[in-house]
Each structure stands twice: as structure tokens, then as C-alpha cells.
Symmetry: C2
Subunit: 92 residues, 2 copies
Amino acid sequence: MSKEQNTIFIGRKPPMNYVLTVITCFNTPDTKEVTLKARGQAITTAVDVAEITRSRFMKDLKVSRINLGTDTVQLREGGTRNISTIEITLSV
Amino acid sequence: MSKEQNTIFIGRKPPMNYVLTVITCFNTPDTKEVTLKARGQAITTAVDVAEITRSRFMKDLKVSRINLGTDTVQLREGGTRNISTIEITLSV
């Protein structure tokens, strides 16, 4: 089964930039799902993007799946640090 | 049906403080579920709390439900602002 999936990596830009990317993705033919991936402080931005898209632009959008996770990051000064991640899948 | 439910509001304290609260809740007899609620920047902390509790302290813990939402906050200088919220339900 091939899945039409688009993934958007959420970083430090304002939420509205990513909201426009999500809407653009859904306007591509055959796009039924868009996944937002974020880690650390960008997790809040990812939730903002999902909520703004749903409440202001695409009322019929559903949050179909949310996964939490942990990434291990190599620090430049040696050692490692754990950072939380989130994946939010939106679908029409 | 009565549900044994505990809710922890996540704020600006370090994640470890809330992790200890979660563990304490689960050590209370008959506690099967604990819900973390957070909004704004504390959303990241809530995800950290869920991940740290699960990976370091309670390996058999499951994220049984995640809800996203939006709260409307009254600003002191007039007007309103929307703020994203998250509810993460952990269960054994």
C-alpha cells in the first residue's frame, strides 16, 4: 500500500509560515495526510500549527495520530542529551 | 462508571518535579491513569515529563490518549489571544 504522505519539519520560524506550508500540501492532488515533526521547544510551535490550521483554515481537518518520542543528541562539548520529539499527523 | 483519574497541571518548574508527581500518583492504590495538562511553552515540558517518566522510571507506561486544543486568554491590555493546549493521558 503506498501512502500519500508529506512531512513538514517544524523549526524556529513563526507558526504562520508552517500553516501556509500545510495548506499548500493539502492543496496538492491526492494529499490526504500531512505529518508535522518537531523536537524541543518547537513542539509548542507544532501544536500551534495544527491548531491554527484546523480552527482558522481547514475546519474539517482531523488530528489522526500523535506520537511522542525521544532523540539522543550528541553535544559538541562531549556527552549526549535527550530531547523530546512529537509527530502530529493531520488528515482530511 | 467512576474513573480513577489524576490531573497534573504542567507549568514552569523543571520537568523532574512533575515526573516525581506522576510517579507518586501512580503509587497511589487504584490509580490507572494520570493526565498531564499544559498550555503554551509548557507543552514541551509536558512531553518531556511523559517521555522521561516512560523511558527512565516506568517502562510499562503507555500514552493512551493525546488531545490538542485552544484556549482563549483575556489580555490585561484588552483583547484576546489564543493559546494552544495539550492533554497527555498516561496509563499502566
